[in-house]
């Protein structure tokens, strides 16, 4: 389901666009066209109720005392006290796989995308549109459809690299490409890479030194944002792993939920909180980028 969504933008406006009055634009004008305080409170609380109630039910379920009723923390205790029994196997390996996958995906993504984008920006500006088109293409292709094309490819991959779960990272790089591309592109557009590179070169720096000491530090925020969003996407990925019969966190959760719904719901809750923290941090990185610009 991640296929089409937009990233929570680190940088919603194209940085080279003329700067519009941004800060609370409508509020600061003399004319008030925004909602009244009462409208705002009513609408937002209804939204919170509709979207929050199922999540609250999820939390309430994890402390339910089975058929006897009442509130108990024993399920949480079981999970963290190491008395999981049969459920822990798939869950543990799913979590390990997902973490490994997010690391491999981030590494491959950065290794592919950052040099390519810098190269295109510096030497092949004509290819910029092509690169953008290719990188945003996966948004148009549903993950379910992507799997159908990937299945024969992965039978080859399995022969070359073995059928370990980490090989899914190749597919995940494609899936996370649009999000990572946008995050890095926003950063790249805000930094004058061409001038920086020319300055470094004319001062006698080698290409490696230019990359390491000048360009990469300037693209740190974009790379950080791209990594965060990629980790969030990979940890939440279900479609491709499930249809290619690999185990990751989400497929393990579905498997375990049939046997021990308490444990799976606790882990789901924790993973949601983790993703929330990740995206909140992503938002902060984006805000700082905006502020630091003149």
């Amino acid at each position: 389901m991640t296929a089409l969504t937009d990233i929570p933008r680190a940088n919603p406006q194209a940085p080279d666009a003329p700067r519009l009055p941004r800060r609370g634009a409508v509020r600061h004008s003399g004319a008030d066209v925004g909602p009244s305080r009462a409208t705002r409170i009513v609408v937002l609380s209804m939204a919170a109720l509709f979207l929050g109630l199922p999540l609250f039910a999820l939390g309430a379920f994890t402390v339910r005392g089975g058929l006897k009723g009442g509130v108990t923390l024993s399920h949480w205790h079981d999970l963290f006290g190491g008395e999981l029994g049969a459920a822990s196997g798939p869950l543990w390996s799913g979590l390990q796989n997902s973490l490994l996958l997010s690391v491999v995906t981030v590494v491959v993504m950065l290794a592919l995308l950052v040099p390519t984008m810098i190269l295109v920006r510096l030497h092949l500006p004509r290819l910029e549109r092509v690169l953008e088109f290719v990188c945003l293409l996966p948004l148009t292709i549903p993950a379910v459809a992507l799997v159908v094309g990937l299945a024969p490819v992965f039978s080859v991959v399995a022969r070359v690299f073995g059928s370990g779960s980490w090989t899914l990272a190749f597919a995940y790089v494609i899936v996370t490409l649009p999000y990572s591309y946008r995050a890095i592109q926003a950063n790249l557009a805000a930094v004058d890479v061409v001038t920086l590179a020319e300055a470094a070169r004319s001062l006698g720096a080698s290409w490696t030194a230019t990359m390491r000491d000048v360009l990469l530090p300037n693209l740190r925020r974009g790379m950080l944002a791209a990594s965060f969003i990629s980790i969030a996407v990979v940890l939440g990925e279900f479609t491709i792993a499930s249809l290619l019969s690999r185990t990751n966190l989400q497929t393990a959760l579905v498997l375990v939920s049939k046997r021990d719904p308490y444990v799976s719901n606790i882990v789901v809750l924790l993973s949601l909180v983790f993703a929330l923290v990740l995206l909140f941090a992503l938002g902060r990185v984006g805000t700082q980028t905006r502020r630091s610009r003149p």
Binding site: M1, T2, L4, T5, D6, I7, P8, R9, A17, L20, P21, R22, R23, A25, V26, R27, S29, A31, V33, G34, P35, R40, L44, A47, F50, L53, P54, L55, A57, L58, A60, F61, L137, T140, I141, P142, A143, V144, A145, L146, V148, G149, A151, V153, A171, V173, V233, G236, F238, T239, S242, L243, V254, P261, V268, A275, L279, F280, L282, G283
Partner: protein
């Protein structure tokens, strides 16, 4: 990497594509289409109202950042978790189900357990459609220029005339764009449906699952290919329309 996008079919044949005309397949495409259309319309409506309520927030404030983070998690991360949450809330022994039955004696399942069938998908789908609408529509709403509101006020307009004469007409292209985007999003969603519905294949993604994982009937992998082709064609149409609407909607932001 390009190989991921090419469809592999040994030898040329149109037989698999003909499977798209099969009544069962057409039925699932129809199911997918109305589910996506319904959740897109509802998502756009509710999401737009929420965006309206958020007007005047500082775009870089902490509250706004929190809204973004929550919407992001619900819209992209929460495929399987949403299915679990709705089972916990509306399942046979879910919190809301039990509460309604015990308090007012309302049995929401008197007509059968619809949560695990097509109608049951609507609510969980809305739970990721509405946040997506907030993510894509809020920037458009914030790009409305304060000068227009001032002009409206100077000319004696009210809040009502501002929205009916200025705000909505300017926003129509981005509303249509959001509608298409939400449609495409629901059309391609798989995780929630797969975690909620374990038997049967009422919508296209689930039918692809059945075609991919079944080994009993010969030629089923080709059916999966044909279904995927149908999906991609639909998406291409929707997304081209979207890019038209998007180009139109950025006209005012120059």
């Amino acid at each position: 990497m390009g190989t991921g996008f090419t469809k592999k079919s040994g030898g040329f044949t149109l037989d698999t594509v003909k499977a798209l005309g099969d009544p069962v397949v057409l039925g699932t495409f129809w199911n997918s289409a109305w589910l996506s259309a319904l959740t897109a319309v509802l998502g756009v409506t509710f999401g737009a109202v929420i965006c309206y309520a958020l007007i005047g927030m500082r775009p870089d404030g902490t509250f706004r950042n929190a809204i973004n983070a929550v919407s992001g998690v619900l819209a992209q991360f929460a495929g399987v978790p949403l299915a679990f949450a709705y089972i916990a809330a509306l399942g046979l022994n879910g919190m809301v189900t039990v509460f309604l039955k015990d308090t007012w004696g309302i049995d929401i399942y008197s007509g059968g357990t619809w949560l695990y069938e097509m109608p049951g998908l609507v609510l969980p789908y809305l739970a990721f459609q509405i946040p997506l609408m907030v993510i894509v529509f809020l920037p458009a709403l914030e790009a409305l220029r304060p000068q227009w509101a001032e002009a409206n006020a100077t000319l004696g307009g009210t809040r009502f005339t501002y929205w009916t004469r200025v705000g909505l007409p300017v926003l129509v292209p981005s509303l249509i764009g959001s509608l298409l985007l939400l449609f495409a999003n629901a059309f391609s969603a798989y995780a929630t449906a797969a975690a909620l519905i374990s038997q049967g294949s009422q919508i296209v993604p689930l039918q692809i699952r059945a075609a991919l994982s079944s080994e009993t009937v010969l030629g089923h992998e080709n059916l999966a290919g044909a279904l995927a082709l149908g999906m991609i064609l639909t998406m291409v149409v929707v997304m081209s329309l979207y890019s038209l609407a998007d180009r139109r909607s950025t006209r005012w932001r120059r």
